[in-house]
């Protein structure tokens, strides 16, 4: 099997090219973020910063100056909104996914496919009526509006992913517990929940990343600078300091760190979450 066949060499070359394509933009983000504003606006560009500086990062991350205050507030808002909507979504999704996986109640298929179909609808279809609803509820410009609307994508996704995990837990384990005298609810809490914790972790991370990266609802529902989340806050930062490309790149880098870190640590679960359901072995 160690023969050097042309397929293998071709594959390696292709993979190398693709890696360069994937990495170069991020490398350039990092390089730019280490430049001064003056150094960034050079033509031809400095391929590597001549005087690398962490000035932009210290500006963004120190609460002592207005830029840093603003940026840290956005960061905190993003964390809070993503965390709250993830927890809410998973808590509601767990029993529903379990029921879809285990029980055969009338209307189950119909309900489940309508959950699935939600993945087809563009956010924009929901945007106008949800905006009207949020105005009516007096929630425009509050983070509650985001936490609630993020369920439009978080909840169906969580139900779908979790059902896949429950399908893979042998039903015999619960049956054994039932024979030993546990109620159906007890069997669910004591047997199924611990076994499905990897699934819940994967689902929660997926849902957190989706919420962390969400842009269009945040753009539409929030225009109070105090309450913006990072993706929209970045835009304000960009328009207000239009020429500060190193600052914008540093901000983009900081914003990407949590999701990339989460993902790299839990890559296995993440990949499983992505492909669950689409691939049947």
């Amino acid at each position: 099997m160690k023969r050097r066949d042309p397929w293998r060499i071709g594959g390696a070359v292709f993979l190398a090219g693709l890696t360069i394509f994937a990495l170069l933009p991020m490398a350039w983000m990092l390089i730019t973020s280490l430049k001064t504003q003056f150094a960034a606006l050079q033509y031809p560009p400095q391929w590597l910063p001549k005087n690398p500086t962490l000035e932009q990062y210290s500006l963004l991350l120190s609460p002592g100056n207005p830029v840093g205050q603003e940026f840290l507030r956005y960061l905190f808002n993003s964390l809070w909104v993503s965390f709250a909507s993830t927890v809410l979504g998973v808590v509601v999704a767990v029993p529903a996914a379990y029921a879809f996986s285990r029980f055969r109640f009338p209307g189950r298929n119909l309900l489940f496919y309508s959950v699935l179909l939600r993945n087809m609808f563009p956010a924009v279809v929901f945007l106008m009526p949800l905006f009207i609803m949020m105005r009516w509820l007096g929630l425009v410009n509050t983070q509650a509006s985001l936490i609630l609307t993020y369920l439009t994508f978080g909840l169906p996704l969580s139900i779908w992913l979790l059902k896949g995990f429950y399908d893979n837990i042998p039903v015999q384990l619960e049956q054994a517990a039932r024979i030993d005298g546990a109620s159906r609810f007890q069997a669910f809490i004591l047997i199924v929940m611990p076994l499905s914790s990897p699934g819940i972790i994967a689902t929660a991370i997926y849902s957190f990343i989706m919420a962390w990266n969400e842009y269009v609802y945040a753009l539409t529902f929030i225009n109070n600078a105090e309450r913006l989340t990072l993706p929209v806050g970045l835009q304000r930062f960009f328009t207000e300091y239009a020429t500060n490309w190193p600052g914008l790149m540093a901000a983009s880098f900081i914003m990407s760190v949590p999701v990339v870190a989460l993902f790299l640590v839990l890559q296995k679960y993440f990949v499983r979450a992505l492909t669950e359901g689409a691939v049947k072995s």
Binding site: P44, F103, F105, L117, L151, M255, L274, G277
Partner: protein
């Protein structure tokens, strides 16, 4: 499920405890999904005043639909949407599938490689859009500078302000962002191809191309269908990249349905018109949704 069978009511009563598990989810979904869909369809039949109170709306039947289908900007956006969706999907799938094939063998650093290639998919579309705006910058962009440095062009290309290049430039960004998704899906699909079958074919003297075409490809039909459908849907729905990078410009050259709807709804506050536009998009989506559910449930005959 034969719902019309007599005793449906009795079955519902017998299963009443089951509904407690799904009730919270259903309640939330009714509030944030079913009601908005109803409201969008409802609003699409009204001429709404350009303010947010929506009090003096006038019922005009299919008037909004007629207006949209007659707008030149709609036809232009439709063509752009088609180009955007088809080419993004095609290139993302080809690159992703290629990467999956190359990664589907044991070698040192394979896990690391897969991780690196997935990063564009994980980072936020907003950050990606700004990074690429900077790469494309008309004066200080690194891509323009490289193409001059290696003698490809005499002057830096104006990627985003030119009606000729803007669509292709945006598609590159989109492909960069989503090829990893196709890669992961196809890699998972490739891992279900039975090894014994491939080895048996090799023993029988089948070459690599033959094995690929007659064993691997037929096994991947299902996952390919799901992946392509999900890419099509994602591309038809994508908003962030075109909105941040160009906002549909220059001169509408990168306007796609979603950005156009957003512009009508929240730029010009024409909720009725934008709702009708959404319903048109919605109908196209339902067509795809039908195939998606069918692809997912095939072989799930329990």
């Amino acid at each position: 499920m034969a719902n019309a069978r007599p005793g449906l009511l009795r079955r519902i009563v017998r299963h009443r405890a089951d509904y407690l598990y799904v009730a919270p989810a259903l309640l939330v979904m009714l509030l944030v999904i079913a009601y908005p869909i109803y409201d969008t369809i409802y609003l699409s039949f009204f001429n709404t005043p350009p303010n947010l109170a929506l009090e003096d709306k006038i019922f005009i039947g299919l008037g909004n639909y007629q207006r949209i289908l007659g707008m030149d900007s709609f036809h232009e956006a439709t063509w752009n949407t088609f180009v955007w969706t088809v080419f993004s999907t095609l290139f993302a799938f080809v690159l992703g599938f290629g990467a999956a094939l190359a990664l589907n063998r044991e070698f040192v650093g394979r896990g690391l490689m897969r991780g690196i290639l997935l990063i564009p998919y994980v980072i936020s579309a907003v950050a990606a859009s700004y990074i690429w705006r900077w790469l494309y910058h008309s004066d200080f962009g690194v891509i323009g500078a490289i193409s001059v440095a290696i003698g490809l062009t005499e002057n830096p290309i104006n990627f985003l302000d030119s009606t000729d290049f803007v669509m292709a430039s945006l598609i590159v960004v989109n492909v960069w962002k989503e090829f990893p998704f196709a890669m992961i899906m196809m890699l998972a699909g490739l891992q279900t191809v039975p090894d014994q079958l491939l080895r048996a074919a090799q023993v029988d003297g089948a070459g690599p191309w033959h094995r690929f075409w007659h064993i691997t490809v037929p096994h991947l039909k299902g996952v390919t269908l799901v992946t392509v459908l999900l890419l099509l849907v994602a591309n038809l729905n994508s908003f962030t990249i075109p909105w941040i990078m160009t906002g549909g410009g220059p001169a509408g050259a990168s306007e796609i349905w979603i950005t156009h709807i957003y512009q009508l709804a929240f730029g010009r506050i024409r909720f009725g018109l934008a709702s009708a536009y959404s319903v048109i998009l919605f109908i196209v989506m339902m067509g795809m949704g039908y195939f998606y559910v069918r692809a997912l449930t095939k072989g799930d005959a329990k």
